[in-house]
Amino acid sequence: MENSDIDNNLKNKIYYEKYKNQHAQLNAVLKSMSEGIILVDKNKQIVYQNEFFNNRLFNENGKVTLKTEEDLISFILQVSETTIENVEELFNSEDMYLKFKIKRGNRLKYFRMNKFSVRTETEFIGNGYLLRDITKEEEIDQLKTNLITIASHEFKTPITSIRGSVETLMRQDTNWDEDFKQELLKGIHEDILHLQDLLSVWFDIKKIETGTMSLNKGYFPVHHLISHTLDQIPLGILESNKIQYIENHDVSIPSILYGDKKRLQQVLLNLIMNGIVHNDSPNKMVEITISSDRQFVYIHVKDNGIGISEKHRKKIFDRFFRVDNTPQRKTGGTGLGLSICIGLMREHEGDILVESKPGEGSIFTMKLPIISKGAGDQYES
C-alpha cells in the first residue's frame, strides 16, 4: 500500500469517528432536552422525535406511533382542547406557535408548540416542531389574575364605603344628626384599619417571596407569647367563644423561646382566628397546648371547627387557596394568611404541621427549634 493511501484511510477513519461522536452528542442533546422536538421532512414524514414527546405528551394516552405530520395534527386535536382552525393555522404557516391544554386527571397541563423551518443556504429540508410544557408559567399567570380579582374586591369594598361616607359628610345641602355623623366616622375608621391590615398582608407576602423578611429575633418566655397573643383577640370574640391555654407543667419543656416574638404572635393569632372563623359549631372552642422534644417546641392550636379534607390539606398553605373560592363563600379572607404563617415559621427554621378530621376539627402546630440561651443574652418582653 502506498503511504498516501494509508494516510487517506487514517484521515477518513478520524473524520468518521469525529462525525460519529458529534452525531452521538447531538442525539444526546436532543434526547435529554427539556422540550419536545419533532422533525418532519419535505414529504411531511416524521423523521425524528425525541423522548419528551413520548413521555410528556403521550404517556397517559398510550403509546402512539406518529408517522406523518397528519398524524401529529390529528393527535393534538384528539388529546387537547383546541380547535381545528388553530391547529391548521400553525401547520399551514411558517414560524407560528400554538398554545393548547391537555387534561390529566384533575389537572390541566399547558403546552406551547413552536414551528420552525429547517433549511440549508440553498435548500428547504423540512420543518421542526418544538414543544414546551408551560404549565408552571400558566399557573403563575393564573395566580396573578387571582391576585387582581381578590385585590379588586378586598380593597374596593372598604374604599367604596370610605368614599361614600366621606362624600356624605361633605354634603353641604343636608344636616345630618350628630349620631349619624359619628356612626359614619366610626365606619371610616374601621375601614382604614382594615386597609392597613390588607396592606401589611401584601407586604409580608412580598417579603417572604423575595426572601427579604428580616426577623427581629430574641429570647422571651413562652407564656408571654401566649398571653400577648390572647390580648390581641377582639373582646367580642374572646367572650363569645371558648379560647383557652392549657398549661403543661412538664419541666422538660423549655420556658424560654428564641425567635421574632411579634411575628410568632402573628402566626399564633392567625391560627386561633382560623379555628374560630372556619367553625360551624354552636360552642366554638380553641385549645392551646405546648409540647417539646429534643430539638423543637410545639405549640398546638386545636379547634372543633369544620376540619379540612385530605384532598385540601396539602393546598391550604398555597397562596390564594381557599377551600371555597366562590364569590358566594361564607367566610372572607384573602387566602394569604396561612401562606404567610408557614413562610414566617420557615424563616425561623421551623414549620407548621396539620392534623384534621372533616366535621370534627383540626390541630395546627407551630414547630419552633429550641435554641438555648447563652449567658450574655437578654430577655425581651
Binding site: S152, T160, P327, Q328
Partner: protein, 234 residues
C-alpha cells in the same frame, strides 16, 4: 309621589350611606342584605328601582337579576367592584338597566338613579295616538305601549321597549346611535354605544325566540351609524 328604591348589598356600611343619601333626596328606601330574602319579599314593595350588588354571599347579584327578570321589569342598576367589561355585558344581557363601578361618587350615584327613573317616567308620559307599526307577525302598538308577536304579548324591559319605540316612531328611517342613547338613556349616555349594542341583541333574541324570522333584517344594523326598523319586504 316619591319613588321607592331597594338597596340589595351585603356590606352594611355601603347600604348605610346610600340609604341616608337617597332618603335625604326624598326617595323611599328599603334595604336587603340577601338575594333570597329580596326575591321573596319583592311583592310587598312597589319598587321603582333596585340597586343590586354583584358580589354577595349565598346568591350573587347576577343570579338575583336572572330570577327577578322572570317576573318583573323593574329597573335595575348593578353595583360592581369588577370593572371587567365581560361582567358589565353579562349584567346587561341579564336585563340590567345601568351599572355603577365601586368605588363610585355620590354625584354619579344620584345621576344614574335620576336618569333611570326619568327613563321609566318617560314611559308613562308620551302618548302616541293610536299609532301602530306592523312588520310581518310583529305588532307594535305605540298607543298602548305593547308589542305582540302572532297576537301574543311580548315582555320587554322599559329600556328595551323604549328602544323599540324609538325605532318604530321612525320606521324605515335610520335612527342614529346617539339619538337612541339620548332619548332612551339620557344626554350623558350619548357615547355608550356598547349599552345599545347589548340591548339590541336582547331585543332581537326575544323577538326571534317568539317566532320572528329574519330578525337581523327587520332591526337592521348600520355599522357606525345606527339602526333601522324595516317594515317593507318583511
Amino acid at each position: 309621589m316619591s319613588h321607592s328604591i331597594a338597596i340589595l348589598d351585603d356590606e352594611p356600611k355601603i347600604v348605610r350611606f346610600i340609604k341616608a343619601n337617597l332618603l335625604s333626596l326624598g326617595y323611599k328606601v328599603v334595604t336587603f342584605s340577601d338575594g333570597e330574602q329580596f326575591l321573596n319579599n319583592f311583592d310587598m314593595h312597589e319598587l321603582d328601582l333596585v340597586l343590586l350588588d354583584v358580589m354577595m354571599p349565598n346568591m350573587d347579584g347576577f343570579t338575583v337579576l336572572e330570577r327577578l327578570r322572570k317576573f318583573s321589569n323593574v329597573p335595575v342598576i348593578i353595583l360592581t367592584a369588577r370593572s371587567n367589561s365581560n361582567d358589565l355585558i353579562e349584567g346587561f344581557e341579564l336585563g340590567a338597566d345601568d351599572y355603577l363601578t365601586k368605588p363610585f361618587s355620590l354625584e354619579e350615584l344620584f345621576a344614574r338613579v335620576k336618569a333611570v327613573l326619568r327613563r321609566t317616567a318617560h314611559l308613562d308620559q308620551t302618548i302616541y295616538e293610536n299609532k301602530k307599526v306592523i312588520i310581518g307577525n310583529i305588532d307594535i302598538n305605540l298607543a298602548q305601549k305593547r308589542v305582540f308577536v302572532d297576537e301574543k304579548e311580548m315582555h320587554f324591559t322599559n329600556t328595551e321597549y323604549l328602544i323599540l319605540e324609538q325605532l318604530a316612531i321612525y320606521a324605515d328611517k335610520v335612527v342614529s346611535h346617539e339619538q337612541i342613547l339620548v332619548s332612551v338613556w339620557g344626554a350623558e349616555y350619548r357615547n355608550e354605544v356598547e349599552y345599545l349594542r347589548v340591548a339590541i341583541a336582547r331585543i332581537r333574541k326575544k323577538l326571534k325566540d317568539a317566532g320572528c324570522k329574519n330578525i337581523a333584517n327587520i332591526i337592521s344594523t348600520y355599522p357606525g351609524i345606527g339602526y333601522s326598523l324595516v317594515t317593507k319586504n318583511a
